[in-house]
């Protein structure tokens, strides 16, 4: 049997990511103040979190700050995270995304950057990422799900989620009416929900 030839950063189980029970287990220990467990949790999730933050924020130094903020908060709020068992990973991811988006919008406000320029950069960096070979299974699942969307749905969702743009900015960038972008994003997300089988309730 062939050994993996690529470095897989996320400890790779069948699902292509750390399983929820393991994360939950670590989170419980972190909630008890276990610093070693925090280190292990960090090792398991930092590449995912940092990859996401870097994608949205793009600036390396700022991304490191955001990632650090996110994990510090995981430590401080571990009890709260632990209370929602099975969702710790989703929670951390949601928080990381929110922090990254906040950072990018603050930077945007500070520099008043040209939106189109920003979107162009974003598309270019997206292509770079696309070309990297190594893809965890779950990541492939997400990419496939994204491919099942219409072009406009996919573009709008990518710009919003990975680019950190508001739907108003997305509408500007795509030259579409606001209402259209709103509904395309919603339709696309509903489709993703169904394709990815997000549990109800």
């Amino acid at each position: 049997m062939r050994r993996r030839e690529t470095v897989v950063y996320m400890p790779d189980r069948d699902a292509g990511s750390v399983s929820a029970p393991d994360i939950d287990e670590l989170m419980s220990r972190v909630a008890q103040g276990d610093q070693g467990a925090f280190g292990a949790l960090y090792d398991a999730l930092a590449p995912l979190v940092h990859g996401l933050v870097l994608r949205v924020v793009r600036d390396a130094a700022q991304s490191e700050e955001v990632t650090q903020e996110v994990f510090l908060e995981v430590w401080q709020q571990a009890k709260r995270f632990d209370a929602d068992r099975g969702r710790a990973r989703a929670w951390i991811t949601v928080m990381a995304h929110r922090r990254a988006v906040d950072r990018v919008r603050a930077a945007q406000a500070a520099t008043d950057r040209d939106l189109r320029e920003g979107i162009k950069d974003f598309e270019e960096s997206y292509d770079d990422v696309e070309h990297q070979v190594e893809v965890a299974l779950e990541s492939e699942r997400v990419r496939k799900a994204l491919e099942s969307l219409t072009d406009i749905q996919r573009q709008a969702i990518r710009l919003a989620y990975y680019g950190g743009y508001t739907y108003g900015e997305v509408a500007d960038a795509l030259g579409l009416p606001l209402g259209t972008v709103k509904t395309r994003i919603r339709d696309g997300m509903i489709r993703l929900r169904d394709v990815l089988g997000v549990s109800h309730g």
């Binding site: 995912l48 929110r98 989620y161 990975y162």
Partner: protein
């Protein structure tokens, strides 16, 4: 815009609403509304999109900084112990590259060292309260997405429950909520609990609801404090934690307080805080 609200669930889940819109969206959703449920599901879906990015391990120095930082950073909701007030050197905000130095008295709780019973200090000035609040309340800005909505539903449910069960209490709640300047602030409390501060400045009415607070340690009580801009704390009642939710009216309203705090005190309460707050909320 309300009939259009349900169209925003996707943008909401992607953090693609600006701050104002997001607040309006969260506030406008009625309890049990299917739109809230959809927003929750789409938020979970959005969380999966993170896996569509390439994992990138942060530089090793980042982990070193973090490990040093957490070693001296208190966890919210950890068993409160009498401690010295927060000092300005306490690492309460994540600052890259500034590794904290002084070991925190909040840690090493397994060391068996006596905590020097009866160590009391004057109340720290407001800047120190606020520094502590920055750490305690970090999560407040994150009360979004799935959890923001859940908390909102819990809040509505708790308010209804209180209104139904406690006529005298609901009288005050109703009066507050019927004031044009009524505000309900939602504050995450330790252990996944929620605190709601309902107030009307015009009517000088205020009350505090907690939902899901764990019982305090044996022989202790949670005490509420109204803290003014100068850092002076005024006792504002003991929280009688039972199952579910609690209600404290704050007679005379918030009285211009800048912060509302909660500390763990002896069962009879204290005239001044003797422990570090487990919760501090700037009054909106």
């Amino acid at each position: 815009m309300d009939d259009q609200l349900h169209l925003l669930t996707g943008a909401y889940a992607l953090n693609a609403l600006d701050d104002d819109e997001r607040r309006r969206f969260e506030r406008a959703l009625p309890f049990g509304d299917p739109t809230a449920e959809e927003a929750r599901e789409l938020s979970e879906t959005a969380a999966l999109l993170a896996a569509g990015t390439t994992p990138v391990p942060p530089p090793p120095a980042l982990k070193e900084r973090l490990m040093a930082q957490i070693a001296v950073t208190p966890q919210v909701g950890a068993t409160p112990q009498p401690v010295t007030p927060p000092t300005s050197s306490r690492p309460v905000t994540p600052e890259a590259g500034s590794a904290p130095v002084a070991p925190s008295p909040l840690h090493g709780k397994g060391d068996g060292a006596s905590r020097g019973g009866g160590r009391r200090r004057a109340l720290p000035p407001v800047a120190r309260w606020l520094a502590a609040a920055a750490a305690v309340l970090l999560v407040a800005g994150v009360g979004t997405g799935v959890w923001g909505l859940q908390a909102q539903q819990q809040r509505d449910a708790a308010l209804r429950e209180l209104a139904a069960a406690q006529t005298s209490r609901s009288g005050v709640i109703d009066r507050i909520l019927s004031e044009p300047d009524a505000k309900v602030q939602e504050v995450p409390a330790p252990g996944g609990a929620t605190m709601l501060i309902a107030h009307s400045k015009d009517a000088q009415l205020a009350g505090v609801v907690t939902i899901g607070m764990a019982a305090p340690p044996a022989g202790k009580a949670y005490e509420l404090w109204l803290i003014d801009a100068g850092g002076a704390a005024k006792p504002a009642g003991l929280v009688a934690v039972a199952e579910g939710s609690t209600w404290n009216e704050l007679p005379g309203g918030l009285d211009g307080a800048a912060l509302l705090g909660v500390t763990v005190e002896p069962a009879a309460g204290s005239p001044q805080p003797t422990t570090q707050p487990i919760l501090l909320a700037p009054i909106a």
